[in-house]
């Protein structure tokens, strides 16, 4: 009962937060666009039409065409798919690995804790994009590898959050009670520790998706992520850069799309944090 009311409280607080709602709606709309891409895209995002190269926004091409004459709107619609997919999968990877490492470190302490957290510290010492570039350089440029790389560099943040939550929860009386009753480590972790880490993890995951999308766009911009002809926003930005002077729409629209999606996730994530943080409870 108590758990349910915590979530209900949080939900109510979230709905009262206007910017969080705006962020949520933004994310929702883009998610629908991504899912329905084949239904709503007016053109094939990959089919070039060299004769219509770099044509400005018009009735036929609402957002104009790029340097190969491809419809920018269609490419952006499909691009939403790519970006959301990369963001969510990268964070899922980071979350899964980070949670396991964090719990092991926090719950068992001692040598495993020291070892895991020092490795995490080393990873945090690198600027995340630089580390991601390094990983992609080793694995070879592709969208899948960029996603894995972004996932890997986001692990430490999640591991830290889970570890600190675990440390807090572990010393609570109810955990000791459970142990006294003979509960196994696995039961304690899954029944008591993990549920108590959920709130900060959800917040971090939401914000992490925004970062992951931005990083993926950055890697694609550098040619290390999505490979041509894939319609990825970062790659579209980089492809249009050469024509910034004569065809600004080629760069502008994918740029706006990145801003909107990342902003959506950030607003929503911030709202979630405010809603879920018990210290802010009035």
């Amino acid at each position: 009962m108590r758990g349910a009311s915590l979530w209900r409280d949080a939900w109510r607080r979230l709905l009262r937060n206007r910017s969080a709602v705006a962020g949520g709606v933004l994310v929702l709309v883009l998610a629908i666009v991504a899912v329905a891409a084949p239904l709503i895209a007016p053109y094939d995002p990959l089919a070039p039409s060299l004769g219509d190269r770099l044509s400005p926004p018009s009735a036929a091409h609402w957002l104009g065409t790029d340097d190969l004459g491809r419809d920018i709107l269609s490419r952006m619609i499909y691009g939403a798919r790519v970006s959301l997919q990369v963001g969510i999968l990268a964070v899922a990877l980071a979350l899964a690995a980070g949670a396991v490492l964090g719990i092991v470190a926090g719950y068992y302490g001692g040598l495993p804790d020291n070892f895991i957290m020092r490795v995490m510290d080393v990873m945090l010492a690198f600027p995340s994009v630089l580390l991601a570039i390094g990983i992609v350089a080793v694995m070879g440029p592709s969208l899948g590898n960029a996603m894995i790389a972004i996932g890997i560099v986001s692990i430490p943040v999640f591991a830290r959050i889970v570890r600190s939550s675990t440390l807090q929860v572990k010393s609570n009386e109810y955990v000791e009670a459970a142990r006294a009753l003979g509960a196994s480590d696995a039961r304690i972790i899954f029944r008591h520790v993990l549920p108590n880490c959920m709130a900060p993890l959800i917040v971090q995951a939401t914000l992490g998706i925004a970062t992951a999308i931005l990083d993926a766009a950055g890697l694609s911009f550098l040619g290390l992520g999505a490979q041509p002809p894939a319609p990825e926003w970062g790659a579209m930005l980089s492809g249009g850069r050469a024509f910034l002077r004569i065809a600004p729409w080629v760069t502008a629209f994918p740029g706006i799309a990145i801003v909107l999606l990342v902003m959506g996730f950030n607003l929503f994530g911030d709202g979630l944090r405010d809603a879920l943080d018990p210290r802010l409870k009035r």
Binding site: L46, L50, D67, R241
Partner: protein, 529 residues
């Protein structure tokens, strides 16, 4: 009568005054720095060990060869050699050298220096033979045979070449930028590192090279051809076409190479800039690596040729400054075979050929594209994407692959690619420099290949060697025409484009004459302040 002639005299005086006025405005001014912006850094500054234009445009300023080209075309003129004569059988050539010339390190230029350089290039056992020496083998080696049998010092300023057999383009070859005479003292001093320390006799001396960024050279006051106007030249690498163009507009560079044809319209509207068109003397193409499956199958190669809509690509990416290529050499060069009929864009035919070759659903492969703009292809990545889409239309799924420029050249010379975009800029105005370099079996050696398709046709080799041995132009024309037809039938490449590369400069840059071979001397360039 008297009045009229007085009038005439007054008129003549007026004309003379005007001419004098114009003349004074046109006379070169000394001083100033030229900042030359380009798409890629040099690979090395040892001219004999490079093949790329970005290296040769710098070494052209630092070194001289025995001969050089006229500043506008490829007719041969004296440089370090002042006169020459050939024996009747055209196998023995004697050159009289220019006297009193000194290398930038103050050591004298003489016949010994010429012999030293040629022996370094020729002999793999020579202690200073460190590198691939590509151009020497492209131009002077046939199979295992070195066509220059020996280089002998007759006296201090006379040198004699003995050839294995007559070589029609011999003089034209010697005037090429790679065959530049370097200071023997510098080669001995720097060894394998001489590519970072070029010492020649040219109008400019090397100052420093910040790899990946810039190369600085300064005026050689003692230049035998007269003091150059510019104090200094800075070659800056700015890989992004639009960034380079913006730097030109904002004034931080004075002239740019590798201008995107899309930007020509913007430049023409800008009163502070002028567009300079380089005569078209190149070919941009897609090589199909015949050592690799499935490109060993002629039906697959032809299918690819039919699958690509060349006219659409060239129209889209060259803004009218190019023509569609059907042969591996430009139409402005003698020997061009206009009777060759190109493979017309025909996806149905392509699919049919693929089905015959047992690839009814196409196949997966890679398409390599240059990472930097080249004069024959300013937007290689975009063109690769267009070709990728055309190939996808017949079921061939090509992944676009790229490496940094030096690695790219190295890897394709080893034949690691499936298909690659690349091009060639004529060096010496002889068809031999296109066809022999790009198609002879002896230039299909992994590691130093220039025949990136690894095309080996004994009939073609035979005709190419024959064309080198006869000096009669009419006979040679016939031979080259025949070779072009054979190459077309075997389809080792898809010839794409002959471009007219635009350069763009500030109005104040005077005397810049773009050479068809891409390596012009800056000795007469000046800045009108």
């Amino acid at each position: 009568m008297y009045r009229r002639s007085a009038l005439a005299i007054a008129g003549i005086i007026l004309v003379l005054l005007l001419a004098a006025g114009v003349g004074s405005a046109e006379s070169p001014k000394y001083g100033g720095t030229l900042v030359y912006g380009r798409g890629a850094d040099s690979v090395s500054l040892d001219p004999i060990n490079v093949t790329d234009g970005e290296s040769l445009i710098v070494t052209r300023q630092v070194f001289d060869g025995l001969l050089q080209y006229n500043e506008k075309n490829t007719s041969v003129e004296p440089a370090l050699a002042v006169s020459w004569s050939a024996s009747k059988d055209e196998k023995v050539w004697t050159f009289k050298l220019r006297q009193g010339v000194k290398f930038h390190d103050e050591t004298p230029f003489n016949a010994e220096a010429v012999k030293f350089n040629f022996e370094r290039w020729k002999d793999p056992k020579n202690p200073y033979h460190q590198g691939a020496f590509e151009y020497y083998s492209y131009m002077f080696v046939q199979g295992e045979t070195d066509l220059i049998k020996s280089v002998d010092v007759v006296d201090d300023y006379t040198v004699r070449f003995v050839l294995e057999r007559p070589l029609a383009p011999f003089l034209a070859n010697l005037a090429m930028t790679p065959f530049a005479i370097a200071s023997p003292a510098a080669i001995k001093k720097y060894g394998a590192d001489v590519g970072n320390h070029p010492v020649g006799t040219g109008p400019f001396k090397f100052v420093k090279w910040d790899h990946g960024d810039k190369i600085i050279i300064e005026r050689n006051d003692a230049y035998w051809g007269g003091k150059p106007c510019l104090d200094k030249v800075i070659f800056r690498s700015i890989p992004d076409n639009s960034a380079r163009f913006m730097e030109l507009e904002s004034g931080s560079i004075d002239i740019m190479d590798g201008m995107s044809p899309d930007d020509v319209k913007i430049a023409e509207k800008n009163k502070a800039l002028k567009v300079i068109l380089r005569p078209s003397f190149n070919v941009g193409y897609m090589s199909l690596n015949m050592e690799k499956k499935p490109f060993n199958d002629i039906r697959v190669r032809k299918a690819i040729a039919y699958a690509i809509n060349k006219p659409a690509i060239i129209k889209a990416f060259f803004a009218g400054l190019a023509e569609v290529a059907k042969n591996p050499m430009p139409p402005s060069l003698w020997g061009y075979n206009d009777k060759v009929k190109d493979y017309q864009y025909d996806p149905a035919q392509a699919r049919k050929l693929l089905a015959e070759a047992n690839y009814p659903n196409g196949f997966e492969t890679t398409l390599w594209a240059m990472p930097v703009p080249r004069p024959y292809m300013q937007q290689p990545q975009k063109i690769a994407e267009a070709i990728q889409a055309d190939l996808a239309g017949v079921g061939i799924k090509a992944k676009i692959v790229s490496y940094d420029w030096a690695t790219y050249l190295d890897k394709i010379a080893y034949g690691e690619h499936d298909m690659c975009l690349i091009g060639w800029i004529g060096d010496n105005g002889d068809p031999d420099n296109f066809i022999y370099v790009l198609f002879s079996g002896s230039n299909a050696v992994p590691g130093r290949a220039s025949n990136y398709s690894f095309y080996k046709n004994p009939k073609v080799d035979e005709l190419l060697v024959k064309a080198q041995t006869v000096s009669d132009v009419a006979t040679r024309t016939k031979l080259y025409e025949e070779v072009q037809q054979l190459i077309h039938d075997d389809c080792p490449w898809v010839p794409l484009v002959h471009s007219t590369p635009p350069l763009c400069a500030k109005k104040s840059v005077e005397g810049y004459i773009p050479h068809p071979t891409q390596s012009e001397s800056f000795r007469n360039v000046w800045i009108n302040k």
